[in-house]
Symmetry: C2
Subunit: 315 residues, 2 copies
C-alpha cells in the first residue's frame, strides 16, 4: 500500500511516494509552469504521479494528498485564489485527480501540510498536539490537535503568524499592526536588521548595507551570528523573543506546549531559539512556564509533500 | 430524567435542577462556608442536592455537574488550589459526590462552565463554536468547539484573558505584560479610568475620585456612559477596542468568529460592544472582517450552574 504526497509550489512541484510504516520509496520534483495556467499545472500533477508510479504498482496506490498555497477549500477540494498560481479561481483539483487516478484524493493548504508532515515524519512524531511554524516570506503555521490538522469553522484556522503582540506596532501586510509576521517575515526581519546595523559600523554586516536593498538576507545575519557578531546575535535573539511572546499567547489560549519551528530563518539556530524559549517560558502562565518546548523542524522543504501524503492517514 | 448543576463560588453555592429539553425545574442558593474547610463545603454541596431533590424524584436524577473556581483536574475529578476555597488541596470532590448520590458526577472550572451554559441555555445555542468571555475581577473564558469545552493538553486551555496585545504594556497579575486582563479586569479598568478622569473635571465621575480608591466602580462608569458622559464612553470604548484586538488574534488562530461577552463590565453595553466590534472586525484577517459576531451573554450569574448541569450532556 502506497500513498503519494504532492506539494504544489509557485515554481516547483515536489512529490513523494510513501509506503507502509512511513518509509519513503521515491521523490521527484518538476517545474510547476504556473504561468501557463491550470490545465498545464494539472498536467504536471499527473506527470508527477506517473513518475512516482514507476517505483510501485498502480494497484497498490491507496490515495493522493495535495498541499497547495493560499486558501484551500479542503471539503470541496478546491484551491481558492492562490497568490502564485494565476488563473486558479476555483479549479476542482481534487475531482480532476480522482477522476484520472481512481483513488481517494485530499487537499489542504501548504502550512497545514508542513505541520502534518512534521507530525507523521518529523519533529512532531512523539507529540499529539503542537503548533508548526514556518518562518519564510511570511510566517505560516498549522495547528495539530490529536495528530490531526485543526481547521476551525471554515478552514482558515491556525493563522498564528497574525497574532499581534503590539497593537500599536509596525504595520503588517494583513492590515493589522504588530503581527508576529511583521517582525519575522523575511522582508520585515531584514528591514529591522538594517536599521539596527546602521548604528554598528563595527558589524561585518555593515558593509552589506551600502550594496542596496536585497544585499542583506536572513542568511547573512545567521552566518554573522554564528561567527560571533553580537549585533547579528541580538537581532535574531530579539526576533525570537517576540515570537516567544506570541507563542506564550497561543500556549495560554490552546494549552498546547510544543512548538516546532521551521523555514529559512529557523536555520539561525541558537540565538533565535534562545530568544524564543526566553519569550515563551518567561511570559506564559505559571502552569506552562518551563514546560513549553521549542523544537526545530526536522524535514526542511520536504515537510509539505510528506504532510500531503499524510492527509490520507487522518480521518 | 433530571440533572443537577452546581456552581461553587467563594461565598455562595448556586444550584439548579434541569429537566428534559433544558427546562429549569428549580434553583437554590446556599452559603459556601468556604472558611470552615472542605468537609463543611462538601456538606453544603450535599445540602444543595437534597434541597433540589424536593422538586423531583431521586430515581429520575441522571447526574450531577459541578463548576469550581481555579484549576480543576476534570479527568481525576479534583479541584486544585482554588484561590477562594482554603484547604482544598486535592479534595476528590467528584468521588465524594458520586459515592453519596450514586449517579455520574462531572466537574470543570467555572469559566468553562459559564461558556458551556451559554452554549446549551443562552446566547450560544445556535452556534457550534465560540469563545465565552466573562469580564469580572479577572477576564475568564472558555472555548466551545463543536458544542463541547476545549480543554487542551492538560485542561488549562481557554485562557483568553492572558492574551498579550502589547508586550511592553501594563503588568498583569500573571507576570506577563499587556494581557487583556490587565486592561479589562475590574481593578485595572478602574485604575485606568481614574487616570483619565483626573484630566476631566467636567465629568460627573470626577467627584468620585476624591472619595478614595474603591469609590469608583465599573458600574459608575457604565452609568455615566449611559448618561452621555463622553469621558465614560471613551473609557469603555477603548477597553472594548483592546478586547477586540485580542479577539482578532483568537479569530485568526482558531477560525472561530462568535464571541459571547458576559460578566459585570459587559453591562456597559453599547460603548463597550461598539469598541469590541471595531477592534475585532478592524484588525482580524480579511476573511473574518465583518463576520466576527460579538454577542452579549444571556444568562448572567446563572451561566455557571447551567453549564455545570450541561457537563453531563457532553461526551
Amino acid at each position: 500500500m502506497t500513498t503519494i504526497g504532492i506539494d504544489v509550489g509557485g515554481t516547483n512541484i515536489k512529490a513523494v511516494l510513501t509506503g507502509r510504516d512511513r518509509c519513503i520509496l521515491a521523490k521527484l520534483s518538476l517545474p510547476t509552469y504556473a504561468e501557463r495556467g491550470p490545465d498545464v499545472v494539472i498536467g504536471q500533477l499527473h506527470a508527477a504521479v506517473e513518475g512516482l508510479l514507476e517505483h510501485a504498482s498502480r494497484d497498490d496506490l491507496s490515495g493522493i494528498g495535495i498541499g497547495a498555497p493560499g486558501s484551500v477549500d479542503f471539503e470541496r477540494g478546491m484551491i481558492l485564489h492562490p497568490p502564485n498560481l494565476p488563473g486558479w479561481e476555483e479549479v476542482p483539483v481534487v475531482a480532476l485527480m480522482r477522476d484520472r487516478w481512481q483513488v481517494p484524493v485530499r487537499i489542504d493548504n501548504d502550512a497545514n501540510c508542513a505541520a502534518l508532515g512534521e507530525a507523521y515524519f518529523g519533529a512532531g512524531r512523539r507529540v499529539a498536539h503542537f503548533v508548526g511554524i514556518t518562518l519564510g516570506t511570511g510566517v505560516g503555521s498549522g495547528i495539530i490537535i490529536d495528530r490531526k490538522i485543526y481547521h476551525g469553522e471554515k478552514g482558515y484556522g491556525g493563522e498564528f503568524g497574525h497574532t499581534s503582540i503590539d497593537y500599536n506596532g509596525p504595520p503588517c501586510g494583513c492590515g493589522n499592526f504588530g503581527c508576529i509576521e511583521a517582525y519575522l517575515g523575511n522582508s520585515y526581519l531584514v528591514a529591522n536588521a538594517r536599521e539596527r546595523i546602521l548604528h554598528h559600523p563595527e558589524s561585518p554586516l555593515y558593509a552589506l548595507l551600502s550594496e542596496g536593498t536585497g544585499a542583506l538576507t536572513p542568511r547573512h545575519i545567521s552566518e554573522a551570528a554564528a561567527d560571533a557578531d553580537p549585533v547579528a546575535f541580538d537581532i535574531l535573539y530579539d526576533a525570537g523573543f517576540k515570537l516567544g511572546i506570541a507563542i506564550a499567547n497561543a500556549a495560554n489560549l490552546l494549552d498546547i506546549t510544543t512548538f516546532i519551528i521551521g523555514g529559512g530563518v529557523s536555520a539561525a539556530g541558537k540565538p533565535l531559539f534562545d530568544g524564543i524559549a526566553e519569550g515563551a517560558n518567561g511570559r506564559a502562565l505559571k502552569v506552562h512556564r518551563g514546560f513549553i518546548s521549542i523544537l526545530p523542524a526536522a524535514l526542511g522543504n520536504d515537510a509539505g509533500m510528506l504532510g500531503a501524503a499524510s492527509l490520507l492517514a487522518t480521518p
